[in-house]
Symmetry: C2
Subunit: 346 residues, 2 copies
Amino acid sequence: MQGPLKVAVLGTGRMGCGIIRLLFQKKGLELTGVYGRRTDRAGIDIGKAVGLAEEIGIKISNDLPALLKKAKAHVVIQATCSRVSEAAEEIRTALHQGANVISIAEEMAYPACQSPLIAKELHALALQKKVTVLGTGINPGFVLDLLVIALTGVCWKVESITAKRVNDLSPYGPSVLAAQGVGVTPEAFQKGVAEGSIVGHMGFPESIGMIAKALGWEIDRIEEIRSPIVSRVKRETPFVKIEPGLTAGCNHTALAYRDGNPVIHLVHPQQVHPHLEGVETGDSIKIEGEPNVHFSGSPEIPGGIGTIALAVNMIPHVVNAPPGLKSMADLPVPAAFMGDIRTLLQ
Amino acid sequence: MQGPLKVAVLGTGRMGCGIIRLLFQKKGLELTGVYGRRTDRAGIDIGKAVGLAEEIGIKISNDLPALLKKAKAHVVIQATCSRVSEAAEEIRTALHQGANVISIAEEMAYPACQSPLIAKELHALALQKKVTVLGTGINPGFVLDLLVIALTGVCWKVESITAKRVNDLSPYGPSVLAAQGVGVTPEAFQKGVAEGSIVGHMGFPESIGMIAKALGWEIDRIEEIRSPIVSRVKRETPFVKIEPGLTAGCNHTALAYRDGNPVIHLVHPQQVHPHLEGVETGDSIKIEGEPNVHFSGSPEIPGGIGTIALAVNMIPHVVNAPPGLKSMADLPVPAAFMGDIRTLLQ
């Protein structure tokens, strides 16, 4: 490849802007276009949008087909939404332009889980256009699935898996805090869960689907439970004040059954300032099998930074991959490659 | 694929026999031949050799070309040696028969490191025969390289890496203990290192080569140090008695420099009964970068069981891979797949 690998980014929120900043640090890549859904962002120079000192001459566009036609991107990175149903149309548009797609939409980590028909359709379209679609992110996409699967690789057999991610929501803004039910009464929390406004973590069915496929397990059913983490102390962030007795977050768990037995247990309590009640953050994976395997790290791998890194670090693998819809378990492991990306392309 | 995937195993030592036992537990595979280098093992039924109650009708052969012709193996697993120079001829023979090859020879994890010409030749031959060659094992091949690389995937950039594996040599036999310099005086240890009879860990240059390639780093030089672990207490295994003042093992380290700065530090002290002096075994990976990442597990992933599992668990990935010589960083992560392997083949 003579010129740089051309990349377009969809989304100008916290994740999209982070992805753009990381792309600027990489060699052999060129940002050729940025799309934003919000009409009030159209026309803003992307240098200004991501906090650079100077304008860079690329303006945020609201017109995706026109933008992609102009960007001639080899790779489109999507950071606009969480659900397959919301992500699919932008992905279709990118595929029709002949671009590979990396999406950080949580459900895209394993879209066959929630949207099997759309997954099938995107796979067929990617095959037809000879490009690759990948969903990635810290979770789903890495900690509670890819790392788990990799660690089973040293096992003769696996009986059950427990993986836990304890994190700190303090850096997040109002929309994340609302979705995790932070700062409300336990009763309001239960009501929010029942009504669907408090969703907790998105990605348990996807992580379970990835693990089960990798191990050859048929899963009968998945039980998800969202419990309020009721604070006994005062906690405060720039966006929320929590008095004792109100919720500091959501303890979300999922239990997957195989032949009636629980085999995969994923645990993901998310709250602001967990250390105020002595809770240590971290990631932990326990495999019961032959042999038992236990790996853990503390504090947790930062979610935002990690998701941005994964989206960018997977670029060479996605360009090199055979066409079709892929998961992280189908491709080589990500790496923080710091040379000229073009030297990796096959 | 209608019939089972045919697999031949080269090597009938502890690793080869373990691989055969694990193959018997897998669905969709058939063991079609076993080769042993030792002439005194020829003709022994493999069921008897691996400790089954019954003979299985496959006898160990000393004639590799004849065996491979008869075995019609899709995959050959090699567990006969450690060095590329010792492994290459068996691999060539298997490739000429059109078989994919998985080798647990330590240097085959990244053969371009010690034997660039042979690596190039095996790559060309694999391309010509449209099959894949992979080196794997717990270390090199997994703990101190693949897991390290995967964890850098969440990083924007990496400054340096320290990875440590502390294990227990107590289960091993006389040849491993001798190569680690167990049970001798510190002077005899230094002499053995100087003469090359005490080698310590095999695989540091290979792990460093894999990591450096994944990160796009040029390494100037590697410093390897082998120090005696002098026991202050009495230690004993079925194969060695160690009085205080004699060696319990070898503390082997490697430091890789980039632009004059140390960037990869691998530490692997191996000894019998480390707990007798309060040493906890385990695996640990620390990445200094953006962000810092630290993952660890204790006790260490068992080396023998893990290497056997990796060799067998990589079978579907090797069969599906594009042709050529590959490392673990080039293929999808291993998984303890417990269904019919044929359902994974593309």
